[in-house]
């Protein structure tokens, strides 16, 4: 009996471990997965994004602008989201939204034309800014930028 209980506890422990692990982004299958907002096939790992809701639903995006537009269009609140990831432009890895700053630059053309890229490393951001120019933005600014540029697209659903 004791062995069974032990075993069950052990299982429970493993289960919690695996739950902890689920807050990693689901890998994007480039060239196969399509963007939840614009339906385009995600092809460029430098600009992609992903959100996971607390219900466990995963949405992948070809660009940061599409991710922002999706949040706005579906009126998703912060409390409903488990995590948001954006591609760190230099490493092309998905990193948590909280860790990045953004660059909006015509020198770095994003798949959907608003040219938003994200950088986890301050030095790399500075270097990209020196090289490509543009404007460095925080999250709030990026949201407002997408809201302003894509007004019609975000409002059209309702």
């Amino acid at each position: 009996m004791r062995a069974v209980v032990h075993f069950a506890l052990w299982l429970l422990f493993l289960l919690t471990l695996s739950c902890e692990g689920t807050l990693k982004p689901e890998p994007i299958n480039y060239g196969k997965d399509s963007c939840a907002f614009c339906l385009m096939i995600v092809a460029d790992a430098g600009f992609s994004a992903e959100i996971k809701t607390k219900k466990g639903k995963v949405y992948k995006f070809d660009s940061i602008e599409c991710m922002v537009a999706y949040l706005l269009k579906n009126k998703l609140k912060k409390e409903e989201l488990a995590a948001v990831w954006v591609a760190d432009f230099p490493s092309k890895r998905l990193v948590r939204l909280e860790k990045v700053k953004f660059l909006v630059s015509e020198g770095l053309r994003s798949p959907m034309g608003l040219n938003i890229s994200a950088f986890a490393n301050e030095e790399e951001l500075k270097e990209a800014f020196r090289h490509f120019g543009g404007k460095v933005m925080g999250w709030e600014e990026v949201v407002n930028y997408v809201k302003e540029k894509w007004q019609g697209r975000i409002g059209s659903s309702t």
Partner: protein, 418 residues
């Protein structure tokens, strides 16, 4: 006054003759006094013609910053050696004809191309072969250019990783893309912010994402192109007043594939195209006031998937021939006009002999409605359950809540002039 004008004309034409007589020809070949293309461009003046004879020229990036004609004789090779952008055009009215342009550099940061044209107008890129370039022909901020008769083979096969596009246009106006062949790139032809342009007679096949892809590109015409066996199909998005006529979309077969994705396409015309053997012929999402007329949908998985946020479109006088599903939608209402099509699976009668079936046709089968809302239900296709569903649907039409119908289904196939 008239006399002054005449004088002006005379002096102008004299000036023209003067300039013309001074425009010269420069020959480049291995063993010629001028053996380098770059050197020839240095020596040339606007209006000159440079003839480059056969051979391989490895000169880094050849920048054409003067309005010259660069003509290849016996397909001379310009080789980027995997390091350089091969040709960069920055002057107006440049002609680049008859070259083989190969092995551009590759970069994660910059869009390095076989031929890049930037911030100018009036170029002609003609009869070249482009092979193994990262991006092949790249036009940025360019007006009134022609890209014609080029054969473009990218470095990648379908499904392979990162590569650029075959013919890529960004912020261009009044460009013609004609009779090119493109394969092995990410998107065969890609337009972003390109207006008043015409894309005609191209064949784009075996590219790993889209055969044609455009966004924010208003008032363009796409005529007589073939898009075949591309990774996903053709995707056109966020654009107004497009005309797509007499194109062939075929053999785009795979989980998420389609012949043509229309995403947020408004006030456009899709006419006399053929959709043959695609997972979905056309997938429409958020489209408004567009007309889909006189097209042939042949042997597709779905001929048309119309998502509920598409409104006020007309789907009229098309032929639907032997598709697994003719139409599907994820909505039970029908905000589009569907009328006067020929449906090969229509079984109604025409008692008064006017060529129009006497009972309306419902192209959305109950099962395809179920499928659109629960994709996993696809495993039930051709099962007893689905047969039962179809039977119920046919014998008790009242059960079906999907209101999409063609009130005037035609009894015979529509023929139109090609």
């Amino acid at each position: 006054m008239a006399r002054e004008n005449r004088l002006l004309y005379l002096s102008l034409s004299l000036l023209t003759i003067f300039i013309f007589s001074f425009s010269k020809e420069i020959e480049v070949c291995k063993g010629c006094p001028i053996g380098s293309v770059k050197r020839a461009i240095e020596l040339a003046r606007a209006g000159d013609t440079i003839r480059v004879r056969g051979g391989t020229y490895r000169e880094g990036t050849i920048e054409i910053s003067k309005s010259v004609k660069l003509l290849g004789i016996d397909k001379p090779v310009l080789d980027g050696e995997g390091k350089y952008e091969v040709v960069r055009i920055t002057a107006p009215n440049v002609v680049l004809k008859g070259f083989k342009i190969v092995n551009s550099g590759r970069s994660e940061l910059e869009d390095i191309a076989g031929v890049k044209v930037e911030n100018t107008h009036g170029c002609r890129i003609e009869d070249n072969v482009l092979e193994n370039n990262f991006w092949a022909v790249y036009l940025a901020n360019v007006k009134d250019c022609v890209v014609e008769g080029n054969v473009i083979r990218g470095p990648f096969r379908v499904g392979e990783a990162y590569s650029g596009n075959g013919i890529h246009l960004w912020h261009c106006k009044r460009v013609r893309i004609k009779d090119n062949y493109i394969t092995g790139h990410r998107d065969g032809i890609y337009f972003e912010f390109v207006e008043d342009s015409r894309i005609e007679g191209n064949v784009s096949e075996g590219n790993w994402r889209y055969g044609l892809h455009f966004m924010f590109s208003h008032r363009d015409e796409y005529l007589r192109n073939t898009f075949r066996k591309n990774g996903v199909g053709v995707a056109v998005m966020y654009t107004k007043k497009v005309v797509m006529r007499e194109n062939l979309f075929e053999l785009n077969w795979g989980g998420a594939s389609y012949g043509l994705l229309l995403k947020a396409i408004n006030d456009s015309l899709i006419e006399r195209n053929t959709f043959y053997k695609n997972t979905a012929g056309i997938l429409m999402d958020e489209c408004q006031r567009s007309v889909i007329r006189n097209n042939d949908f042949i042997e597709n998985g779905w001929a048309l998937r119309v998502w509920a946020n598409s409104m006020d479109n007309s789907i009229v006088a098309n032929n639907f021939l032997s598709n697994t599903f003719e139409m599907s939608t994820n909505s039970d209402s029908n905000p589009n006009t569907i009328e006067g099509n020929y449906w090969s699976s229509y079984r109604g009668y025409d008692l008064n002999g006017d060529g129009v079936g006497d009972v309306p046709y419902k192209p959305v089968k109950l099962f395809s409605y179920v499928l659109e809302n629960n994709p996993a239900a696809a495993v039930l296709l051709r099962s007893f359950f689905v047969q039962l569903l179809d039977f119920v649907e046919e014998s008790l039409p009242a059960v079906v809540s999907v209101s999409v119908e063609d009130p005037r289904p035609l009894m015979s196939k529509i023929e139109w002039k090609r």
